[in-house]
């Protein structure tokens, strides 16, 4: 089996240890404090970040309701780094293509690129990684992610967690339609999140022959793994098996997906990455290297403004997005 080593490193934002020099650092604008931690660490520790490519979304800009929020949102302007802004619609990642291909923003295969996925929605960073990998031709990308210290529960109880509001449209992730084969056994792998309504909506829409549920364990905090099981009770009750992958490690998720795939080679595989962003990152890498795998995601009317509290650890994941395969 073709294997390759992966690397994940914790970041010390105070000293800058763990940061890697890059030509372009891609971040999403947002008022969550976690979103600027990495860019700030680059600036304060004078680690070369080249230029900052900031993705701004109309929907988030419209939601800003106070001067303080706006200041947080535009925090990147205070970093003293060269900044380029790319605007797009949060529900439609390809909408930023036009701005991304402007001569001043254009990325080349020689660029050293890092992507801070903390404030990107999952469809966006899935789209960006595939764009970098397949259409720009970049083979190595570093992804940063800052974990939340805890989550917000709207009514105070664990089952009241909601990351999205309003009507849901289950969509294929742009660029990840899989092979389009509609015959044979359909396998749905759901990376569990806290929001049980999302998983039910996806399971009903995809209507697989078999559903495998992957829970994040070890989780950021011991109780999180139980919250996701409780909140997804309906799906878990109907699923034929529950598997586990560490919540903070995309490569273990990748390996688990590979393992599932090896056991069910004939099945048409669909992944719903509803869990943590590092787990979703693993699913993204897996789908990039397995083009026949489809990725679906529920697109909401609106995302919750804030779903987390404070920052915890930050990670850097070094990935070869051109030829990622299982192994460790």
């Amino acid at each position: 089996m073709d294997t390759r080593r992966y690397e994940m490193t914790t970041i010390d934002a105070g000293t800058g240890s763990g940061l890697t020099p890059v030509d372009k650092l891609l971040i999403a604008a947002g008022s969550d404090v976690r979103g600027h931690r990495i860019a700030t660490a680059y600036a304060t520790n004078k680690v070369d970040a080249g230029s900052l490519l900031v993705f701004e979304f109309d929907e988030r800009t419209e939601q800003l309701s106070s001067a303080e929020e706006t200041e947080d949102y535009r925090g990147y302007e205070q970093l003293g780094m060269p900044v380029r802004v790319v605007r797009g619609g949060i529900a439609d990642p390809p909408s930023c293509l036009k701005e991304l291909e402007k001569p001043e923003n254009v990325l080349s295969r020689e660029d050293r690129v890092a992507l801070d996925i903390t404030l990107f929605t999952k469809p966006y960073f899935f789209w960006i990684l595939k764009y970098l990998s397949v259409y720009v031709g970049i083979s190595n990308v570093s992804a940063y992610y800052t974990e939340p210290e805890s989550y917000r529960y709207s009514a105070g109880t664990f089952d009241s967690y909601q990351s999205t509001y309003g009507p849901l449209h289950v969509r294929e992730m742009p660029g990840y339609p899989g092979e389009g084969r509609a015959v044979g056994s359909r396998l749905l792998v759901v990376l569990l999140g806290f929001d049980g309504q999302l998983s039910t909506a996806i399971n009903d829409d995809v209507a697989p022959n078999k559903t495998i549920v992957v829970n994040g364990f070890p989780s950021y905090c011991p109780k999180f793994k139980d919250i996701s099981l409780v909140n997804n009770e309906r799906l878990v009750a109907g699923a034929r098996s529950v598997m586990y992958a560490p919540a903070h490690n995309p490569f273990e998720t990748y390996n688990l997906l590979q393992h599932i795939r090896d056991k069910r080679e004939d099945a048409v595989m669909t992944i719903a990455p509803l869990g943590t962003k590092p787990m979703a990152l693993g699913a993204c890498l897996f789908a990039i290297s397995n083009e026949d795998v489809r990725v679906v995601y529920p697109l909401p009317e609106t995302y919750a403004k804030k779903t987390t509290r404070a920052s915890w650890r930050s990670w850097r994941y070094d990935m070869d997005v051109s030829a990622v395969t299982a192994g460790g």
Binding site: P93, G166, P167, H169, P177, E179, A182, E301
Partner: protein, 658 residues
């Protein structure tokens, strides 16, 4: 192993899409079997030459129904030994009348044929290409299965393979087999999938190896099979297309064209939600499809509810599931009413409710004025109290509020209890048994700030609203909670306490209500509408004078709804079974003209504490303005004017009514 240890919730498989063919057969119950609407029998479904459209809400069993007629399930059925004279699967299918090809495109795929700078016309062409190839792929899947089980000889398929290569625009090579045709189809589908992937990143033209128009493969491929494979001579195909509502209007135009022109060898059976047609147009200008002329329609809820066979159907569905659990099979426990109880026992429930009210036993007497024409409240209570049955007390309160004297009320109650044939006793019986018993229970629960419980098979039948999936989910949650909280009672006595059933019903209602807000079409508006409508009905159930008992339906003039977005939202409410139209036109209220009457899905009843049953009589008449308010506003005022509570009535010149 002890069978109690291997116990598994009999209702845990609820999604027909997830079931294996064997499970479909094991759990199959024809919803139309034994009903007076006898036209929907299996023979009819297999053999009727025109398309049939089956409409029903989410969970009504459309997928189970369509899948039952599919090749994979019927093959499983006929592959089971059936005594000595076993014939081939193909012979059995031919005898049935047709081979079913189950087609379902999930919403995520269907919705991907849009945007990214590609014109709508182009996307429609690409979708048409995809649909043709997808159906073609499914025909070939059946053909491969027939080859595998020996119904067809591979040697006899040469002519077909050659023809199929031509049909697909691929050069034929000597020695090619059916498997090679499948590969060609997959390559053609990949062209579309690759385009869909690439279109997200760059602008490009769709240029397939061969473009297919509507009918080229959906009808072209089976025609070729019949002509060139001797074993398939005279065989008919049924295209069982599920979730038709997922297709956009322009996609439905393409499929409607196929429906309009069925072939003798291939026709359609469509499964869709209510209001699932987004258009009746075809791709030919000015041509449209019409029910009765181009297709016949069956609405699951209409047939099931109208026919009164629904309870028997649910009972059979439950029995099959219960007997699939070894422990229950051993004990012969196939009767769901034994687990849930047949009907509610309202008297017992009322007494149980008061047991928990240590300090506030008399709270349900509070509507009586502290100093009214009938005397002080305590004095009145002394007259009308009946510890043996709190619901009598509740009715007595109602009578006193309606100006009957406490003495006469007590007398009427005693006449009824002692079966004395007096006019007052008869009136008391009518009020208690025929008119108000359930309303009294709702009112009493509300006055004691407790939930009215929802339990028993009868109640679950009402709550399920003609939707078998709701019934299964109510049972699943009840069995699950019972297993967790009262495992012994469940597995040893075969009973589930009303308290547990109620918790399950309430949880399910709340979960369904939350899901309303996530409906992809107008979810937020429908959530507000459901909440406002439910609260409005609730206010009728809390009316001390029970002026409109068990009011839980409404009327609105659909054709008058404007602007269009509200019409669309209301249609979406029907499509998602948030709102259900009553099968027949009814008078909105006694004395009013006939019109469409709607109910909220009864599954929400435990959340709003409203009656789950149909009593008829009064319907809330919603004006178009009110409907818009219900959809737009977080909270609206109830149309029912609140009765004054515990206020002494104004002195009257007239004596109280006797």
């Amino acid at each position: 192993m002890n069978s109690a240890h291997s116990y598994k919730n009999p209702f845990s498989s609820y999604n027909a899409n997830l079931m294996t063919p064997r499970e479909i057969l094991d759990f199959w119950c024809n919803p139309f079997f034994g009903l007076r609407s006898g036209e929907v029998n299996e023979h009819h479904v297999f053999n009727h030459k025109d398309p049939i459209v089956f409409q029903g809400g989410r969970g009504t069993g459309k997928t189970m129904f369509l899948r039952y007629f599919s090749y994979e399930v019927q093959a499983e059925r006929f592959e089971r030994p059936q005594g000595s004279g076993r014939c081939s699967v193909l012979d059995s299918l031919r005898h049935q009348g047709a081979i079913g090809i189950y087609v379902r495109l999930d919403g995520a795929v269907v919705r991907d044929f849009q945007g990214r700078g590609v014109s709508e016309d182009m996307w429609d062409k690409i979708f048409c290409q995809y649909f043709e190839l997808d159906v073609c792929q499914k025909y070939l899947e059946v053909l491969e299965a027939l080859l595998a089980n020996g119904s067809i000889e591979e040697g006899g398929t040469g002519e077909f393979v050659k023809g199929a290569f031509g049909l697909l625009g691929e050069r034929w090579k000597t020695g090619s087999r059916v498997a090679d045709v499948v590969k060609v189809v997959r390559r053609r589908i990949s062209e579309i999938t690759n385009f869909r992937a690439d279109a997200s990143f760059r602008r490009l033209e769709f240029s397939p190896t061969k473009a297919f128009a509507s009918q080229d493969l959906t009808y072209g491929m089976p025609e070729l099979m019949l002509k060139s494979i001797p074993e398939l001579d005279q065989v008919r195909f049924l295209l069982l297309v599920d979730e038709y509502e997922n297709f956009s209007a322009s996609q439905q135009q393409i499929l409607n064209t196929l429906l309009k022109f069925p072939k003798t060898f291939a026709t359609f059976r469509i499964g869709m939600r209510l209001e699932g047609f987004h258009t009746f147009e075809t791709i030919s200008p000015e041509e449209f499809i019409k029910r009765g002329r181009d297709y016949s329609g069956v609405v699951f809820e209409d047939v099931i509810i109208k026919d009164r066979g629904y309870r028997e159907f649910l009972s059979r569905v439950a029995a099959k599931r219960l007997l699939a659990v070894p422990l229950f099979e051993e004990k012969g426990w196939s009767d769901i009413t034994a687990f849930l109880g047949k009907k509610e026992d309202l008297e017992a429930e009322a007494k149980e409710l008061l047991k928990c009210q240590r300090k506030g036993r008399h709270r349900h007497f509070e509507p009586i004025p502290t100093h009214g024409p009938a005397g002080g409240r305590e004095e009145v209570i002394g007259q009308i109290e009946c510890r043996a049955n709190p619901l009598f007390e509740m009715l007595n309160v109602l009578w006193v509020l309606r100006r009957k004297s406490p003495e006469d009320t007590r007398q009427a109650m005693e006449d009824y209890i002692n079966k004395r044939s007096t006019g007052a006793g008869a009136k008391y019986k009518t009020d208690y048994v025929d008119k108000y018993k359930l309303s009294l229970m709702f009112l009493m629960a509300s006055l004691h700030q407790r939930d009215k419980l929802y339990y028993s098979f009868n109640t679950f039948c009402f709550l399920s609203s003609g939707i078998v999936g709701n019934f299964i989910e109510l049972c699943r949650r009840s069995f699950q909670l019972a297993e967790f909280e009262e495992r012994h009672n469940l597995l040893e006595d075969g009973r589930i306490a009303p308290r547990i059933q109620h918790a399950a019903a309430r949880e399910f209602g709340s979960a369904e209500l939350e899901m309303v807000s996530r409906i992809r079409e107008y979810g937020s508006a429908l959530y507000r509408f459901t909440k406002n409508m439910g609260n409005s009905f609730r206010s009728y159930h809390r009316d001390f004078r029970i002026r409109y008992p068990e009011t839980n339906q409404f009327t609105v003039e659909m054709s008058a709804i404007s602007p269009e977005k509200y019409t669309k939202a209301f249609r979406a409410a029907i499509r998602w079974s948030v709102v259900q139209r009553k099968p027949r036109l009814q008078g909105a209220s006694p004395g009013k003209g006939k019109g469409d009457v709607y109910t909220l899905n009864r599954v929400f009843a435990p959340v709003f504490q409203i009656s789950p049953r149909t009593r008829g009589g009064y319907s809330v008449q919603l004006s178009v303005e009110q409907l818009r308010d219900y959809m737009d506003k977080e909270e609206v005022e109830s149309p029912l004017r609140k009765p004054s509570r515990a206020k002494p009535s104004t002195p009257s010149l007239f004596p109280p009514e006797k």
